[in-house]
């Protein structure tokens, strides 16, 4: 593995290996002294063109706990607006002989493009509305901690699919692991060409969340509705969205009635009261904080497999 750009880069064996390593790393996380010497002498640049708290900090902690030198470079807005091309920006960084560039960019495909230009390994930490492969890995890890292997398990992904990189990566990784995936969204938030896409990738489509919940899925993943979408004409009002697609208190009960073991995920940050009610967010079935905790372990696993040799991880 040289880069991690898309969840489609990972075979089932790759995902299994990364999740197994993440479990080892998760053990390390519970030690008093968390430092491993694994990546000593390696330099990781966290290049974040877009605001991020949890993803950037979890990559930074992951690198530090493995003794890598991690440097954060953050910039708001694209380099285009500053007159410098993206290529110039990343070539400047690559010229410093770094080992890994973790990139978050507001433009789809940015990580892919950067990987063509630099010698360093590139990790996609979220590119526009395209993908977020480490999020999908940590979601899978978290769900498996609670549910066991995801093969044959039923997962519903609900919300703004069009603009969600979390959905795109999750749909791929969940299918790679053999899960049964149902997508739930209003028609205006279903991505272009989703019909052919769903048929090709074996995804189910619906706009009826109640029907999906009544069928007792094993996991329900609620996606964040971005504030800027609310005035974009994708749906009439936040109230109408919540009535149609929010995981409300009543829907939480319906889900629990149908499947008492079902878990709830949300990649955060949550809009409480919009796509997820406080009752659901804080319910015993909610994995929201487990997801954050797993984020560090999963990113340690990714950095380890990209940058370390073959010796034992922990």
């Amino acid at each position: 593995m040289r880069h991690l750009l898309s969840s489609a880069d990972l075979s089932r064996d790759d995902v299994r290996m990364l999740l197994a390593t993440a479990a080892e790393m998760h053990e390390v996380q519970r030690r008093d002294v968390k430092k491993l010497p694994t990546l000593r002498g390696r330099t990781i640049i966290n290049l974040f063109f877009e605001d991020s708290t949890r993803t950037r900090s979890s990559f930074e902690i992951a690198g530090k706990w493995m003794s890598a030198d991690t440097i954060n470079i953050t910039g708001k807005g694209s380099s285009a607006s500053k007159g410098e091309s993206l290529r110039d920006t990343v070539m400047t960084i690559d010229a410093m002989s770094v080992d890994c560039v973790v990139i978050r960019h507001m433009a789809s495909g940015a990580a892919h493009q950067v990987s063509q230009w630099v010698d360093a390994s590139v990790v996609n930490a979220g590119d526009g509305t395209h993908e977020h492969p480490t999020q999908a890995l940590l979601d899978a890890y978290t769900m498996e901690q609670r549910l066991g292997p995801l093969a044959g398990r039923r997962v519903a992904i609900v919300g703004d699919l069009t603009h969600s990189r979390v959905f795109r990566s999750n749909a791929i990784t969940l299918r790679t692991l053999g899960a049964d995936v149902t997508l739930v969204a209003p028609p205006t938030l279903m991505p272009s060409g989703i019909g052919a896409w769903a048929a090709a990738d074996g995804l189910h489509l619906t706009d009826d969340l109640d029907e999906v919940l009544a069928s007792g899925p094993d996991a329900v993943m609620m996606l964040r509705v971005q504030r800027e979408r609310m005035s974009g004409g994708f749906f009439p009002t936040p109230r109408e969205y919540t009535v149609g697609f929010g995981l409300t208190r009543d829907r939480l009960r319906a889900l629990t009635d149908a499947n008492g073991e079902a878990v709830i995920c949300h990649p955060g940050p949550m809009n409480r009261g919009l796509e997820i009610s406080a009752d659901a967010a804080d319910a015993a079935q909610s994995l929201v904080l487990d997801q954050v905790s797993a984020g560090v372990a999963v990113r340690m696993a990714v950095l380890y497999h990209l940058l370390a040799g073959e010796e034992d991880a922990a």
Binding site: L86, A107, S108, H130, R168, A200
Partner: protein
Amino acid sequence: MSDLLITGVTYLGPDGAEQRGDLAVRDGLVAEVGRVEDVSGLDRLDGDGLTALPGFVDLHTHLREPGREDAETIASGSRAAAAGGFTAVLAMANTSPVTDTAEAAERILDLGRAAGLVDVVPVGAVTKGLEGVELAELGLMHRSRARVGVFSDDGHCVADGRVMRRALEYVRAFGGVVSQHSQDPALAGAQACCHEGELSGRLGLPGWPPVAEASIIARDAMLAEHTRSRVHVAHVSTAEGLDVVRWAKARGIAMTAEVTPHHLALGTDLLAGYDPVFKVNPPLRPTADQEALRAGLLDGTIDAVATDHAPHARHDKEHAFVDAAFGMLGLETAFGVVHDLLVTTGSMGLADLARVMSVNPARIAGLAGHGRPLAPGEPANLVLVDPAATVTVDRAASQSLSRNTPWHGRTLTGAVHATILRGTVTAREGEPAAC
């Protein structure tokens, strides 16, 4: 100007059938065709294996001067045009400043003449500053030395129906035509950069749906009918848009249309790697659209092939895909692409190619000296093509100042051997003449 004897060349007779013989060019005009009696004072050019066609006319070229002389100049673009077999190019108005006054148009005309390799014909903006609000000085541009007859806000759609109506009414008085960039900005905004469909969904790129093109073409067809004026559809890219053009023509509406070589030959799938060299507006479309466009070109629904030659400096293409500039080079590869795609496959003959790359675009633009039959007394605006030559496109060898060609590394059958503008050889085997 030297006088020429082109020997043993294949050419199109009055009936369009291919014939072989000698051609004499004197004083910038075709002097004799077939058998040349008087060869005195003529420089010989061996035409064996070559076919003489009327010089190509490009309805859609971006030369970037004034404003972005780092990407292209009128001189460098002229070199690329001559190398590609063109004897006339229409220079789009989206320069900086915009070509929206008589003075600006005359300046482009003069710079083209100074370069001297191709007739550079300025296109006038429809609206001031391409802003789509107030009409530019259409009449003054027409009355200027540049005799502007084609108007376009290309790069932008004249989206306001009232503005488009007024423009059509106004240019009708002097026989002008509006070339429309058909893109409803409400349906395909400035960020739209990938054909809307499964691939745009998977890639997370803003989609550009066919309806954004077809609905504007339909509106413009109705406006052309209502105003009894003439409208030209720039770079039609979708089967839906093409169907509307077909309907409009059947109804007798004065609508013409062009297609680019890249929309004929390149597909949406090329965007999968996020390489901005394949970012163009309108975007590359799926196979079914390419096939429909080829059929439309063959059945005459589409009148012309136009390059939409759009040079960009490297740093404007090396951004993230959605931030990178739209457009690709086209002048030097247009003949090879069309020939390779449609002539070598037997879909069309060289006479058809001449019709869509020279005769029809010259007629649409009202260029009297171009796209003419090969007959004594006609202006000697010619291209000699070698249908058997194969060329592997090398972007480093381009005459353009830019390198954003999507054809790099592709091998094409059919090459331009020489270009002749009013009797003067302006390029030979891809190398422009020193001027």
